[in-house]
Symmetry: C2
Subunit: 398 residues, 2 copies
Amino acid sequence: MIPCRGRLEVGPLPLEQGGSLPRVELAFETWGRWDPQRKNAILVCHALTGDAHVAAHDPQDRPGWWEAAVGPGRPIDTRRWFVLCSNVLGSCYGSTGPSSPVDPKVPEARWGGRFPTVTVRDMVHAQRRLLDALGIDRLALVVGGSLGGMQALEWAVSYPDRVDAVAVLAAPPASSPHAIAWNEAQRQAIFADPAWQGGDYPPERPPRRGLALARMIAMATYRGRDEWAARFGRDAVPPDDDPVAARIGLYATAPRNEAERFRFQIESYLHYQGEKLVRRFDAASYVTLTRAMDLHDVGRDRGGLDQAVARVRGRVYVLSIASDLLYPVEEQRRLVRALRRAGKDVTWHVWRAPWGHDSFLVDAAGVAQRVMDWLDEPGQDAAGLEEGAAVAVGEGRP
Amino acid sequence: MIPCRGRLEVGPLPLEQGGSLPRVELAFETWGRWDPQRKNAILVCHALTGDAHVAAHDPQDRPGWWEAAVGPGRPIDTRRWFVLCSNVLGSCYGSTGPSSPVDPKVPEARWGGRFPTVTVRDMVHAQRRLLDALGIDRLALVVGGSLGGMQALEWAVSYPDRVDAVAVLAAPPASSPHAIAWNEAQRQAIFADPAWQGGDYPPERPPRRGLALARMIAMATYRGRDEWAARFGRDAVPPDDDPVAARIGLYATAPRNEAERFRFQIESYLHYQGEKLVRRFDAASYVTLTRAMDLHDVGRDRGGLDQAVARVRGRVYVLSIASDLLYPVEEQRRLVRALRRAGKDVTWHVWRAPWGHDSFLVDAAGVAQRVMDWLDEPGQDAAGLEEGAAVAVGEGRP
């Protein structure tokens, strides 16, 4: 019987970019029951600031980040499926990362800025070991969006014999220069905060302002243009009505005229999002995980994209979001084309959701239902989609 | 005879957002000769970090920011046209801005963080006064891109009887929430720099790192996705070969692993661009001018866009750049539709240039030639373009 919450050591882990981590633990959560006969395991992979808590385990439990997608009677129905999610290597929600002690016997000496560079392949490698430890030899599906989609794709290529199907949501085959540029600006925001101290800040004095700014930059790449135009437009918030600004003092050093005149609702929203993340996420993990995203390139050291996807044996579902500014549709098209050239079983959907990159989180139930419909109906794949003739699905819910 | 370089006081200036500037000077440059009979004046408006130096005045002079566009035998031919450009209000290249003294008798007491909020309308108002002072009663054309395009549009609406034609390049009728969000993140990067000191930093100790970071964020919105993919791809620069990083020490507080492993060419490019701007631009001007861009809304206090453009009397040329991430084509479409609804003479081109928002700077000669062709051939307007049937022009030069 696999527990619904746990943490397991998966041993020392050699790292793709060199060196190794002497001791890696992964925190995980599960829903439903693993049935070795039915091979009913689904691995859900979370995005940059996510954790293993995909959904509540009972009505009293707090909601998870993909709450509407997973549970009894929900699209990923836990009466039928066994669902597992582990916090990624390098994160700060129970798995080994920069805020973990280098040596568990000296808990106050944390990795901090010395935490090595990890890649999406390293994350997936650690996950595979976790599954080995839990006795799960086969996955019916690996599904994830953004960094989670990168992991799903790496699963299909790194361990083709272990996965029947993967669903890659809003993730590219490799990070583009634009995606790297936005991540680098975010890291520089953190590095520029005097509290950063090379990553060796004490837990109680993290680089709050730098991390908040990083989140502000990121938000502008996560959401849809039309969504923001409708939601915020050019409306202003009088500063007196702006409790976030007052509380976090982000305007403390702004010129008087900037702080006193007015600001736009969209600005208030950005500050709010920055503040929210600072309360729950570690800056050094943010640096580590954005770097892993930059390094994401499924073709690296495999002879390129075509050679890499030639390894895939399971079915592949690719979801593109038409309003995604971070990983635009063209990037998934490259992946889909490579998979088709290699003769793989791939289904591509372009989704006209208005919420930008985050659409896979905003309409969790809708996205998960689409993935599960595809998983259950191989006929859909047999029908095939002409290259470039992606189906526009869902009109989004404004 | 109007000098080819000068600075004029245009008096105290009441400001749209309240208050006034007691003393405003504008620095300007001119090319060619003003002919009051032929009304041959063209006003060129510069973008965010530009200045009045559009082009060299002679072969020994340093090149300007739109060098290939303006000069004898160039698209804006200075044997025929009198060209004028003034540094915008709030900037740092000779016109009144945050780095100017509040009182010229006390040169060391600069405006700094107390410089008031200015708008694009204020900039245009000051320009109109400059033209009055120079005796230029009519403009054959106002042309500009980005912040310059916002000014061109404001000219057409604020002073319809003074302009025969305007060319609005890569500028929207109003700044979108996304554009505001990107600007706000840039301002916060500056505010977070301890050297900012509320805008009252000494000239020799400006918030260098904050301004460099602001520029890095901005660059990711200025350039084209395909351009960067082709130019930088995912190539790496070994840190030892990265003189910019070593010189400016931006990686000084990075974790060892971040600084030592490698970084992507695109990152090196961003740092280089950041460093370049810091050497030539004032941080408080950057804050002031990005705020003016946020406040840009040609319909504000005029009953909305339709009412505002009803005032236009001259011809209007609108250039959209297909790869522009900052002001996407849809935003200019709104402007063009409003102008057409109001029965105005408008020509819209969607240009498939690869360089993103900056395309109007990258192919200066091509863009200027297109504008001047349109200016000389009213037949093109008479033919008219169907709504939504913008002509795709130029394939760009990779």
